[in-house]
Subunit: 288 residues, 2 copies
DNA sequence: ATGGGCGTTGCACAAGCTGCAACAAGATTT
DNA sequence: AAATCTTGTTGCAGCTTGTGCAACGCCCAT
């Protein structure tokens, strides 16, 4: 849209390939040297490109700083919430979002079940780290040595007969989870409650959060809940894409995403046809 | 130099602070909405900014990708990392690697302290250039006239009573640092935090980076930290040697500088006997 | 319904960008 | 050492291109 800016930005991927001098840049841009010079100078003033001692231009460290700052200010919860709500609308069950931090996994967001029977949980509360599906995903993503170290120093309370028994069993479970890219908790915390979970990944592929759908088996059987897995995974991936700042799938580079509609909409609603009971009052409000 | 590009680039740091809508952007840029729109569109087409479902703009995936490439081109980082990790393993404190670029000193790598009390810092963040030990080393290495010029145009915030007071004091400090080949920051940025730093030099002797060990004095006194100086210097020299293409110590003499094979190992571990406590939970806040 | 907020569009004007050509400074060759 | 080539830099005239205005449309809240 703006020729000048367009040209300037075209310099960046070019420099990403490696350092280049003024003439090379001008050549690749198909503009006069003086034009390229002015663009490079502007980029330089902003620290986006850096001038090497040999006068050639490179991408600058400032770029790195910008990206870093942006990532830090990214709020997974804010980004994820509409997707959680949508998922909840689709299946009616409790949806959680959790992050790992300092040997703990914390729920940071939640959309309440619309069924009368609900599971108990609280935003900000540490989850049962050895059994929760979201915890398994987040720990499974840690680098091997740390994963092992954490597994060793955890406690393994026997909430139920199906709770993880100890470090060995836990590490084995983590390996499986890591492999398959999703996790479950079938009665490991509360005898009658099951969960399925999927990871939300950042631009670098690391798991920044995990989300789960939980329901007591008086409402849906474990098998039925597992039927939601594809939807859960798809939702998690949609959040990941959004979190990484990727353009929505429909948009071929350059074009506009169109009317940009509005809501997340993971995909033209999934094959799962839920039977959400008459909505209870839902707690739209996030949390402290 | 180029007004249009200048304005477009000014949008980036603004969006790094968090998502913003068209009006906010136009406001901060002091331009008409339509102008801001065109700039944002151009940035959008290049994938530099991303449009959220709520129509607000934030930095996009391509910027992250570019930043990644930019930092990968800084091969010091790659070479140095194992040494930083080793140093951290030896002393338990936070280890930083920083480079100088365009009147700024940026952290480009970091290995976290294993003590519960940590200092705050962020990769990609510009450091307090007038007081940080790494900054002193990098600036001390500039040729005299430039060093003076930079010193003149810096600000000298008084973070603490021991912060550098102004250009004269700073230049004196730089001269001393240049002379002795290492630097400290004893409470110049945060009253309770000390650092010791040493330079990483390229084949031509110029400082290409600097590394530091930082610790709050509730953990170790300044004197104890200074005791680490020999180790820090030896590590920096090991990195310098490898960066300059010399075979890592382990390799048979005369061989290839090659893939650098295995582990760093600065020297048969130093006299410093650390007592790194097992990490406990600290109260770092999650996503707001 | 009505009004306000916000993004989007078309357009006339001139600001600013573009490319040219000449200049400067090193490096390389004769 | 002089000549020549290469590459970055500057000033400028012309006109492309970006700018701000005002009007429009859409959506949400009242």
């Amino acid at each position: 849209m703006s020729q000048t800016v367009d040209r300037a930005l075209s310099i960046l991927p070019l420099l990403a390939e490696g350092p280049a001098n003024l003439e090379q840049v001008a050549g690749r841009l198909q503009v006069h040297k003086s034009t390229a010079l002015r663009l490079l100078r502007t980029l330089h003033e902003h620290g986006i490109v850096h001038r090497q001692p040999d006068q050639r231009y490179r991408l600058g460290a400032r770029l790195f700083a910008l990206a870093q700052e942006a990532v830090e200010n990214l709020d997974i919860r804010e980004i994820a919430h509409p997707y959680l709500a949508e998922l909840n609308a689709a299946c009616g069950h409790t949806v959680h979002l959790a992050v790992y931090e300092e040997d703990e996994v914390l729920y940071i967001d939640k959309v309440e079940s619309r069924y009368p029977v609900r599971m108990y949980s609280r935003i900000g509360k540490p989850v049962a780290i050895t059994v929760a599906a979201v915890a398994k995903l987040l720990l499974a993503d840690l680098p091997e040595p740390e994963r092992r170290a954490v597994a060793e120093r955890l406690d393994y309370p026997r909430y139920t007969s199906r709770s993880t028994s100890g470090p060995a069993a836990f590490l084995a479970e983590l390996a499986k989870v890591r492999e398959q890219g999703w996790a479950t908790d079938l009665g490991g915390h509360e005898e009658s409650i099951n969960c399925v979970a999927a990871p939300v990944r950042g631009a670098d592929g690391r798991a920044v959060a995990a989300m789960s759908v939980s329901a007591p088996n008086v409402v849906v059987s474990a098998e039925e809940l597992l039927g939601l897995l594809p939807l859960v995974r798809r939702t998690a991936e949609a959040i990941s894409a959004e979190y990484a700042g990727q353009p929505p799938p429909g948009a071929p580079a350059g074009g506009f995403p169109g009317p940009a509609g509005a809501s997340p909409s993971v995909s033209p609603s999934p094959s799962v046809s839920p039977n959400p009971p008459p909505p209870r009052k839902s707690s739209k409000k996030a949390a402290p």
